[in-house]
């Protein structure tokens, strides 16, 4: 049985832990708000871009590699976005799990797989199993702040590899932010360009809007729009990821704070009981000692 001093120390240490986790929760909440603001600010650009692309893609049957693919699908590039740090619940683990599942799916279908890791945690987790598949690791994107130019650099890197013929299709794995409690791990096809349902629906709505003239030509604009769209998509995914990470951390730290509180209550009860027990014992000793005289 632990002595009173041990219990006292234990309570002190759990109290310190609770202070740290509640501070981390507050920091995560502040960062989450910033990440959400940033995501909000990036939306108009992405939406306009998507509309323009959807419009162009639906009317021209282009054979650009970024649009139509390379004609084969032997090598897949998985771009995995994770956080640089842990202590955010299952956030990184879920993303890595999805990446693992995708790798084994592709490998059992006889495809070649390459992995592009954004974020320290994903690279660390995959290193042992798939270390030889990782072609690139990018870290510390949010120091000092996530910016479009950083996402653009990643996109340029990916496109350079594509032009080099190093892969045929690319898929982005990231966590879509739904709320601080729920983040949805999603896959998004990046190369070749996939027209998603939402853009198609919009087309029907602005059908009369699409009587645009194109300068220099539809084809030329599409050729310029597609690589930029990769940058925008990467940026969007990274922003979603940043918000999800902070949301997951906030929830995890909230739970940790609550657990620490419960533990303190239990330990305090135990401490008071043992103190009482030792007082009673001493009393009995004194009384029985006096009776023996």
């Amino acid at each position: 049985m632990a002595s009173l001093k041990d219990l006292r120390d234990r309570i002190g240490s759990v109290k310190n832990t609770r202070k740290i986790t509640s501070a981390m929760k507050m920091v995560a909440a502040a960062k989450l708000r910033r990440a959400q603001d940033q995501a909000q600010a990036s939306r108009p650009y992405a939406e306009r871009m998507e509309r323009m692309l959807g419009d162009l893609a639906s009317r021209s049957s282009s054979d650009l590699p970024l649009m139509a693919g390379t004609g084969k699908s032997d090598t897949h590039m998985i771009i995995l976005g994770t956080a640089d740090r842990g202590l955010c619940g299952g956030f990184n683990a879920n993303l890595v799990k999805e990446a693992r599942r995708m790798v084994s799916e592709l490998q059992s279908a006889g495809k070649q797989v390459k992995i592009y890791c954004i974020g320290k945690k994903g690279a660390q987790a995959l290193n042992r199993e798939y270390g030889d598949l990782i072609v690139k690791r990018v870290e510390d994107l949010d120091k000092p702040a996530l910016s479009y130019s950083k996402a653009g650099a990643i996109a340029e890197d990916i496109l350079a590899m594509f032009d080099d013929g190093q892969f045929d299709t690319a898929t982005l794995i990231y966590a879509k932010f739904q709320s601080a409690i729920a983040q949805i791990v999603s896959r998004q096809q990046l190369v070749p360009f996939a027209l998603d349902g939402a853009a198609g629906d919009q087309d029907a709505a602005d059908a009369d809007d699409s009587a645009y003239e194109f300068e220099p030509s539809e084809e030329a604009i599409l050729a310029e729009l597609l690589p930029r769209n990769v940058g925008v998509q990467v940026f969007k995914a990274l922003l979603e990821n940043a918000a999800s990470e902070q949301g997951a951390r906030m929830t995890a730290m909230d739970n940790a704070t609550r657990n620490a509180g419960e533990m303190i209550d239990k330990l305090t009860l135990l401490y008071n009981r043992s103190r009482q027990a030792s007082i009673t014992k001493e009393l009995i000793e004194i009384v029985s000692g006096a009776e023996a005289l």
Partner: protein
């Protein structure tokens, strides 16, 4: 007679101005846009977008992008935009020197392409700052 001018970058909506005229650096030459322009989409080369509004002239340096023009709107999608008043010759020169160095050290075709594009942007920036 005005139209709505908007300058949007991936990070923020940089400007929203009631404009009477906008001059955009189109890929095939500068283009003056007035109200009731035919709906047009054009790609931009690095250069200066100049907006004439009720409170005078505002210039923005854009490093390429797109312009979506309709009868009542002119929307510029640019990857990066700087107000001309915030652009200094020194910064532009520094960017040019850096781009030149990158171009000289580029080895693969991909790197060269990127460096060349950066060089063109920096070159236009020096032009705009002067």
């Amino acid at each position: 007679m005005t139209m709505q001018f908007e300058l949007v970058t991936p990070e923020a909506s940089e400007a929203q101005i009631e404009a009477t005229m906008v001059v955009v650096p189109g890929a095939e030459g500068d283009m003056g846009v007035l109200e009731n322009h035919a709906p047009t989409v054009t790609s931009l080369r690095p250069g200066v977008v100049s907006v004439t509004g009720s409170d005078g002239n505002t210039g923005f340096f854009v490093a390429g992008g797109f312009a979506e023009i309709t009868a009542e709107r002119c929307i510029i999608l640019a990857e990066s935009a700087t107000r001309l008043s915030d652009l200094t010759t020194e910064a532009a020169q520094a960017a040019l020197t850096e781009a030149k160095a990158a171009l000289d050290t580029a080895t693969s075709d991909g790197e060269k392409n990127i460096a060349e594009r950066k060089y063109a942007v920096a070159y236009a920036m020096v032009d705009a700052a002067a």
